[in-house]
Amino acid sequence: MALTTRPAKSTRNRTLADRAPAVRKAMLPYGLLLPALIALAFALGYPLIRQVMLSFQEFGLAQQFGRPPEWVGLQNYRDLVSDSYLWVLVLRSVVFCLVNAGLTMVLGVAIALLMRLMSTPVRLVVQAGLLIAWAMPVLASLTVWTWLFDTQYGVVNWILERLGGDFAGHSWLIEPMSFFLIATLLVVWMSIPFVAFTVYAALTQVPQEILEAAEVDGAGPWQRTRLVVLPSIRPVLLVVGLLELVWGLRVFTQIYVLQQAGGVTRETNLLGTYVYRSGIGEGEFGVAATVAMFMLALTVLLTAPYVIKMIRDDREMA
């Protein structure tokens, strides 16, 4: 969006005054950015820089209380990368992230499409349900979910028993695959509302005329959806999908709480819990910082194609 010129005024010979507004105009965007930049620099700038520095130091709890830290250069990184457990975690986390993001997007979009077809009262009910699921405090929802799947007293086992299955005392968390199944259920349940709402809102903007034109042209409902509707909301899908990927790789709380409830910790760790356990769990802040940097690099790599697409779209728009 190029700077628009001011409406033409009568020509005057006050060159200095003319230049001043122009300079002011050029400074305007920076001025507008300033409050945000200051807030970010203040509250995030120093901690982030410190985080980067910490990743090059041997910094434990003792250093927090005054002992001078040791600069170890890339040693933390070398130790991290040579630990085979880390790569197991990377694989697990990436797969988990992709599965979750994929499921969330597919289900979220499906629900959004469905909402278009519902009668209004039902749609409002569904929106209310999504809202409430989104608003519920995470501690409460996680606790309820772990209870539902509790080995001894869970409602799910209770129902399955009544239905004839052999689920008394069945542990849903002891097998890693089953553990991640439950974890996926939780993460997707918590993430769908955001996707559903955003995509639904985008869908209501698709002009009716285009749809009707496609119908006249003989396109069936599924074809209309696939070839007309979805492409027209592509920018939204990209934005939301990107966020789901970024957040999916950082998943922590759900895994951490489930690990307290059961299962084998080592088999169910993801990068998110690993950062936490290396950091606070051990008081090894240098190592935690290194893992955080690593995760950043990984996320950038994972989302690079998306981001490039977005930048390109953005350049075209402007």
């Binding site: 059961g262 084998v264 051990e282």
Partner: protein
């Protein structure tokens, strides 16, 4: 007009006076801090009885006129985060903190606390629970002193014992037999436990390892070694496996919280839990008061007939190294370890920090079991980085693996490797 002027003068005078008295704090007494100050004491959870808190405040303020003592109650959840940040701040640091014994080692070795070695003698010396003193010591100096210990003993169903013709076991073997018998005699419900032993419950499991002569980790020279794969430890783990396989119906990957739930549902014959479980069972909202008449307790018996070593909960207290009020803080600590204060704790069911005061716990079954259990109480290894072993949940994973069947020697060796890794 005159009223306002008078008020104004009074206000100004008050301000001037308070400013002056502030300056008075500067008189130095060798760096021990100002003569008067507001001391902040961090106590965790509801365990410390109100009577003790009131006594502390009153006594301190009487002995130190001009100073006040404020108790700020903290939660165990998030405590480590709070301590990590607050203790390192000159302005925000509390003066005295209560820490769990695992955290004692961590923060002691990190240098967060002041050296109390000179005061330990006055505070109780050898009378103090030695395991706790060790947890708060580093390099020959003591930085955190015991505050109180928890209690842990076996709760059992007197009626089920009678039905199976069992007597209170006096040796570990009898105990294991009793557990297996109970399970066999009570096939309904299917998840009945002769001895309730959830998979993650290493805190009970470690008793059997200790009883057999083994340990979790041992310091050799400068390094710590995991010792779960020593023959003694493995023997202890065998007992664990026997109990889990033949006597327990608890979830094989479950945790040990909320034991009163299965107990009140007739799913438990015996369980080894902290003493405050009595309160939970005896409460209509949380438990089943009707069952109290069938509840008996005894300390977990060891192989040799004396009580088995149990992992005691409990806390230490310490003075923050960054606190500007060192002398006053140490006074507060002294008060908290005084006989009077500790007596109040004992009367409320907490094992006092001084072993000589243990008889004050009482005479009933519960008190006797507490005293007996405390005689051979032990703590987790006082290694600087033990907290990271717990953070990585190595022991939980080991015991869950044992509960699910697996080669003991192999599992123990793996756990040892992980522990050694974490501790060094």
């Amino acid at each position: 007009m005159r009223v306002k002027k008078t008020l104004g003068l009074a206000l100004a005078a008050a301000l001037v006076l308070s400013a002056c008295s502030d300056d008075g704090d500067d008189n130095s007494d060798g760096g021990g801090g100002p003569d008067t100050a507001d001391i902040r004491v961090w106590i965790n959870g509801p365990d410390t009885p109100q009577a003790a808190r009131d006594w502390l405040k009153t006594e301190f303020e009487d002995a130190n006129p001009g100073s006040t003592l404020t108790i700020e109650e903290q939660e165990w959840e998030g405590l480590v985060e709070r301590l990590t940040t607050a203790l390192s701040s000159d302005d925000e640091t509390p003066d005295v903190v209560e820490v769990g014994n695992t955290q004692s080692s961590t923060f002691t070795t990190a240098g967060a606390f002041s050296d109390l070695s000179d005061e330990v003698g006055d505070l109780g010396g050898d009378d103090l629970l030695q395991g706790f003193v060790e947890a708060g010591s580093y390099d020959g100096s003591t930085y955190a002193v015991p505050y109180y210990a928890g209690s842990k003993y076996v709760f059992y169903r007197k009626d089920l014992f009678e039905k199976s013709g069992l007597e209170v076991p006096t040796t570990l073997d009898e105990f294991v037999d009793a557990a297996i018998t109970l399970k066999e005699d009570n096939p309904d419900p299917a998840n009945f436990s002769g001895f309730w032993f959830p998979g993650q419950d290493w805190r009970n499991g470690v008793s059997f390892v200790w009883d057999a002569g083994g340990d979790l980790a041992v310091e050799e020279g400068d390094e710590w070694q995991g010792t779960l794969s020593s023959p003694e430890s493995v023997a202890g783990l065998e007992t664990v496996k026997t109990l889990m396989d033949q006597a327990s119906g608890a979830a094989k990957d479950g945790n040990e919280a909320d034991a009163q739930v299965p107990f009140c549902n007739n799913e438990i014959g015996m369980m080894s839990v902290p003493g405050w479980m009595t309160g939970l069972i005896d409460n209509a909202d949380t438990g089943c008061p009707d069952m109290m008449k069938n509840v008996g307790v005894f300390p977990l018996p060891g192989s040799d007939g004396s009580p088995a070593p149990v992992l005691l909960g409990g806390s230490n207290i310490a003075v923050s190294a960054n606190s500007p009020n060192q002398d006053l803080a140490k006074d507060a600590v002294a008060l908290m370890l005084s006989d009077e204060f500790q007596t109040i704790l004992a009367e409320n069911g907490l094992t006092p920090a001084k072993t000589s005061l243990a008889p004050l716990l009482g005479e009933d079954e519960f008190a006797q079991a507490t005293i007996a259990a405390a005689t051979d109480a032990r703590l987790t290894p006082p290694a600087a980085k033990w907290a990271s072993v717990e953070g990585a949940r190595i022991l939980e994973d080991l015991f869950v693996a044992i509960a699910n069947g697996g080669d003991l020697a192999e599992l123990a060796a793996e756990a040892d490797e992980a522990i050694t890794d974490q501790l060094n």
